[in-house]
Amino acid sequence: MTYLADVGALARKDLTLELRARDTLPAMLLFVLSILVVFHFVLPPESSDLAAKGLLWVGILFTALLGLTRAFAAEREDDAIDGLILATRDRSAIWLGKALAVFVFLALAELVALPAFALFFTDIGGGTIAGVVLADVGLCAVGTLLAAMATASRARELLLPLIFLPLAIPIVVGGVGASVGSHPATYAGFLALYDAIFALLAWASFDYVLTE
């Protein structure tokens, strides 16, 4: 319970910081809406709904990347990450708290993006929504770990996409499959398996990532 209390305190801190600074969520919202508008004009009118749903996943992936780029910005300022490292009994609580906050930001962006997608392109079914939720878990679990790794680098803005996008490919495969595939449940199961494995790996390795 004390571990979860630490996670709750850290996630609440991130939500409070975002409410004050408003520098991540508005950017994510603006970005995902902009990219949907661009896709609306990029796709020829006779294009299939399948192509549109593929582009939805491009939008989700890059919106998540935008949020992850900012994930540890507050910790970089004034080296607050050092304070957290010293104060937490289990450093993985920092990862879980941060991943939860990023998940909330991404889910809020999608709450706007998905209806906008339905308006611009085509209806969204239950398979797509389930796929988005499962994909969000994986994107946030893996992305938060990689964002912490990239934070230590001076070229963090370059490094994060380079290490994140290859690891996100299975999520895109699962997400697109759940949206348009003939066996959405299979792809949803694949996403759930990815989430479980990579969340476990990220949780177990975060302490090592924070070690110099």
Binding site: A9, K13, D78, A80, D82, G83, I85, L86
Partner: protein
């Protein structure tokens, strides 16, 4: 509490520390001096576990969460108020009667009236006072202080003198400073780097 033998730290080809040796027990105060770039901050980061030695032996017999570290930077969140910052650390350190302890420290360091002000609006001296509150919040067994008197006015420095003297028997101290005279009366050992 801390035992260092032949301690060495390198970053790539650059050797920051070499052959550092010292012992520190409870009630001891080690003053670390040296010019800029001599490795004072690196040594402090090694002592608190934020860095690992390249060679040599460093035994710190204190749990990580029982260490109080005052760094160059305040290790605080600028968009949170003083109260919110200390409350976060109080929760993570699992301090019993957290609110009372935070209130007492803010009062003592003259920040009570500014407790609902965001740290971003604080002056450098106020930030240093708030960072000291964070450092002392959990009554650490080992206090590692990097230039603790920097940015403090006379009143703040006198306050810190008093805090160090009060905790003398309960904790061990490692203090890096360009102004060793300030802590020499309390010092039990001195380490000159560079």
């Amino acid at each position: 509490m801390i035992r260092a033998r032949g301690l060495e730290k390198r970053y790539g080809d650059r050797r920051i520390l070499r052959g550092v040796e010292f012992d520190l027990t409870r009630g001891g105060l080690l003053v670390v001096t040296g010019p800029n770039g001599s490795g004072k901050t690196t040594l402090l980061r090694l002592c608190v576990g934020l860095a690992t030695p390249t060679a040599g032996e460093l035994a710190v017999e204190v749990e990580r969460t029982r260490v109080g570290f005052l760094a160059h930077e305040p290790l605080l969140y600028r968009q949170l108020t003083a109260l919110e910052n200390l409350d976060l650390y109080g929760r993570l350190y699992r301090i019993p009667e957290r609110r009372e302890r935070i209130g007492m420290l803010l009062e003592r360091f003259g920040l009570w009236d500014e407790r609902h002000t965001r740290a971003a609006s604080y002056s450098r001296g106020m930030l240093q006072r708030l960072a000291l509150c964070r450092t002392l919040l959990h009554e650490p067994d080992l206090l590692v202080l990097d230039e603790p008197f920097s940015s403090l006015d006379d009143e703040g420095a006198a306050l810190l003198d008093r805090e160090l003297a009060e905790r003398r028997d309960r904790a061990a101290f490692v203090v890096a400073t360009h102004d060793p005279d300030r802590v020499l009366p309390l010092a039990t050992a001195k380490l000159a780097l560079g």
